[in-house]
């Protein structure tokens, strides 16, 4: 395992070019091209905004302007959920490579996560635009934390994706389970509402890893005041390291079976 783990940095070039390929191929042939990376989150935001601000008349105190509040956590969630959804099936859909070419299988889930991360980063200007429009200013000295949060989320997603993609090769059920679980997970996470609205459920929220990411994003980008959630974030970061190592161990155990089972 450690030997294989040490090999990972060597695949940098491979991962890089595969991510570039993914991005190039995704919008090839569409009229808007890369512009879709902006349009997609914009449309998503418009829909959510319409539903929660106009139809449901969300007037919760402290969450105004609601569009910005919601978007600060929705954008990272989109990255997380599409990464996890695609990465789970990545070994199966990349079966041709695993079966016919000597190919480091772990590269496949990483590539999906990273190319979704690029979409996430391309969506950030939309968020910034909304923040400027509603005159929401983040606390500037907290912005370096944003990088840390993204890092923790990346590690957490990577660990989970490794585990799920490896299991999905043998248990195809995992793919469907994940897509349904993600819907549930979305509503169980304080993204479209704030955890402060439901203090009695706080102990359940705390068990949900994405809660801490969502709250961290909200505190750094949306709420005023100091970043009080940082210890939770760092704990999640540490847990993510453990998760990643554990997932990598499982992945490594099952590695030899991939070429036969996909």
């Amino acid at each position: 395992m450690w030997h294989n783990l040490r090999q990972l940095p060597k695949y940098r070039g491979l991962i890089q070019s595969l991510v570039a390929r993914d991005l190039k191929a995704r919008y090839r042939g569409s009229v808007l091209g890369y512009f879709w990376s902006f349009v997609n989150p914009l449309l998503l935001l418009t829909i959510y905004n319409f539903v929660f601000t106009y139809l449901l008349q969300n007037r919760a105190e402290g969450l105004q302007p609601y569009a910005v509040f919601m978007f600060t956590a929705l954008l990272p969630w989109t990255w997380f959920s599409s990464s996890l959804g695609e990465a789970t099936g990545s070994l199966i859909s990349g079966g041709n490579l695993i079966k016919k070419v000597l190919f480091p299988a772990e590269v496949l889930p990483f590539v999906t996560i990273l190319s979704n991360m690029v979409h996430f980063l391309l969506g950030l200007p939309i968020l910034i635009g909304f923040m400027a429009y509603y005159a929401v200013t983040p606390d500037w000295w907290e912005l370096p934390w944003f990088v840390v949060i993204v890092g923790v989320q990346l590690l957490f997603t990577a660990g989970l994706s490794l585990l799920l993609s490896a299991l999905a090769v043998h248990f195809r059920d995992v793919k469907d389970l994940v897509s349904n679980l993600l819907t549930f997970w979305f509503f169980a996470t304080p993204i479209i509402y704030s955890y402060q609205q439901f203090p009695e459920y706080m102990k359940y929220f705390n068990w949900n890893p994405f809660t801490h990411l969502a709250i961290s994003y909200q505190e750094v980008l949306f709420f005023d005041g100091p970043f009080g959630h940082k210890w939770w974030l760092l704990a999640l970061g540490a847990a993510s390291v453990v998760l990643f190592l554990l997932a990598y161990w499982v992945f490594d155990r099952l590695r030899d079976s991939f070429a036969e089972a996909v």
Partner: protein, 442 residues
């Protein structure tokens, strides 16, 4: 030649058969990592059993065998794509596997981008690819189309590009799995030249192919795998000789069993409608040109056995062009008959009549036959080209009314080293006046 490039030591590879439950529990999957050992023997399939061979550095090594004999499994093990269940595989040096060409191509992006990504997948750096890019494109003969998306390529173009990238990885060990079938004649020659160049530079090639000529011409050593076991190893000509002999034997067994099936079916049909066969006999002449196996006749005289024999009297169903052949008919007449004609008709597999004759045509007048007897038709030299042939045998009256007619129930195969065309090979030779020269034959 002192150093070894590839070593397989007592390698056994067991695959799981699908259809049943694969994992007992998740826990056992994680603990063992590989589940094959826990499965019952009937749930597994042994693709290779106890295979060991060594390929010295700089050797071109051929692997031959039937479909499903484990050739590709062996190659995948050497490539490191799968791991042996038991045993060890050692490879020295950088490997490039021509197993599936263009496996990593993405259809939407251009050939140029795919070359880079494929090259990186195969272990090159960007710089190395840039350096070799023109050479790759030129080799693939795709200069004009390199910026078009790969999905617009024909399958030949796709394969050529995949081959070009893989071969320019400049490996120490090249694994080739039946990929020379790509591209046209010209491209195949180019590939062979490239292999030759590899050989000269002292690189190792492991070649899996059905093209025995290629192995004979190209390889320094060969193994023959059959049902996962090593049947022969060593000098290619000898290995291929043993392999070809075995294939011929196998074919013969297959012919015997399929003949048996046809005869059984014909027998059942005959019993089902005893009136039918006689009625069919009226337009017997017309039947000669109709395809379709069967057996009919009044049964006054019966053909009980049909056997093909080689010159030395051995029963066989596989002959070589120009060999002698004997067709032996065991016949029986329960009551004495005075009017009988023995005949044969020889057909190609697709029903074209090659030759037909009978004792009446050849002016033998029947006198009397009773009891059991053997009729032998001796053919001195079977001057047919390679192929499968069907034989009609019959005994009938002078007016054509059959006693027993076997329609295409008997099959034999003719093999030939020379792949000439048509049906009939007249005995022939070439003569040239002195100004025409040929290279001496091997």
């Amino acid at each position: 030649m002192s150093q070894t490039a590839i070593t397989l030591t007592n390698v056994t590879k067991i695959y799981r058969r699908y259809g049943g439950k694969q994992f007992s529990t998740l826990k056992s999957a994680l603990l063992s990592g590989d589940l094959v050992r826990q499965l019952r023997p009937d749930e597994t399939f042994q693709a290779l059993s106890d295979v060991s061979f060594t390929v010295p550095k700089g050797c071109t090594f051929g692997v031959v065998g039937r479909n499903g004999s484990g050739k590709s499994t062996a190659l995948k093990l050497v490539a490191g794509i799968t791991k042996p269940t038991i045993g060890k595989v050692d490879v020295n040096g950088r490997i490039s596997a021509l197993i599936e060409l263009g496996a990593g191509f993405h259809p939407e992006i251009s050939g140029r981008e795919n070359v880079f990504i494929n090259g990186i997948m195969l272990g090159l750096t960007k710089k190395e690819i840039t350096k070799r890019f023109d050479e790759i494109v030129e080799f693939a003969e795709l200069t004009e189309f390199i910026d078009a998306p790969v999905k617009t390529y024909s399958s030949g173009m796709y394969m050529r590009l995949g081959f070009a990238v893989a071969i320019h990885v400049d490996p120490d060990v090249l694994l080739v799995d039946e990929v020379l079938a790509v591209g046209d004649e010209g491209f195949t020659h180019k590939c062979l030249d490239k292999f030759g160049e590899f050989k000269r530079r002292g690189k190792t090639i492991l070649l899996v192919t059905h093209s025995l000529g290629l192995v004979e011409r190209f390889c320094d050593e060969a193994v023959w795998l059959d049902a996962g076991q090593m049947k022969a190893e060593g000098d290619p000509t000898r290995v291929i000789g043993t392999y070809v002999t075995d294939v011929a034997r196998q074919e013969e067994r297959f012919l015997v069993s399929s003949d048996q099936k046809a005869k059984t079916q014909a027998g059942e049909a005959g019993q089902a409608s005893p009136e039918g066969p006689v009625a069919a006999a009226d337009d017997y002449a017309g039947d000669m040109t109709q395809a379709g196996a069967g057996r009919w006749g009044s049964g006054g005289v019966e053909i009980t056995t049909v056997e093909f024999q080689s010159a030395d009297g051995q029963p066989t169903q596989v002959f070589h062009t120009g060999e002698a052949m004997r067709v032996m008919l065991g016949v029986r007449a329960a009551v004495p008959v005075r009017d009988f004609v023995f005949g044969i008709g020889l057909f190609t597999a697709d029903g074209v009549m090659v030759y037909g004759t009978n004792t009446f045509i050849e002016e033998l007048e029947s006198d009397r036959f009773e009891g059991e007897a053997v009729v032998t038709l001796a053919i001195e030299s079977l001057d047919l080209v390679e192929g499968t042939y069907k034989l009609d045998v019959a005994v009938h009256k002078r007016d054509g009314a059959p006693y027993d007619y076997h329609r295409m129930l008997h099959t034999f195969r003719v093999k030939s080293r020379i792949k000439d065309g048509g049906i009939y090979r007249p005995k022939h030779r070439w003569d040239f006046t002195s100004s025409i020269k040929f290279k001496p034959q091997k």
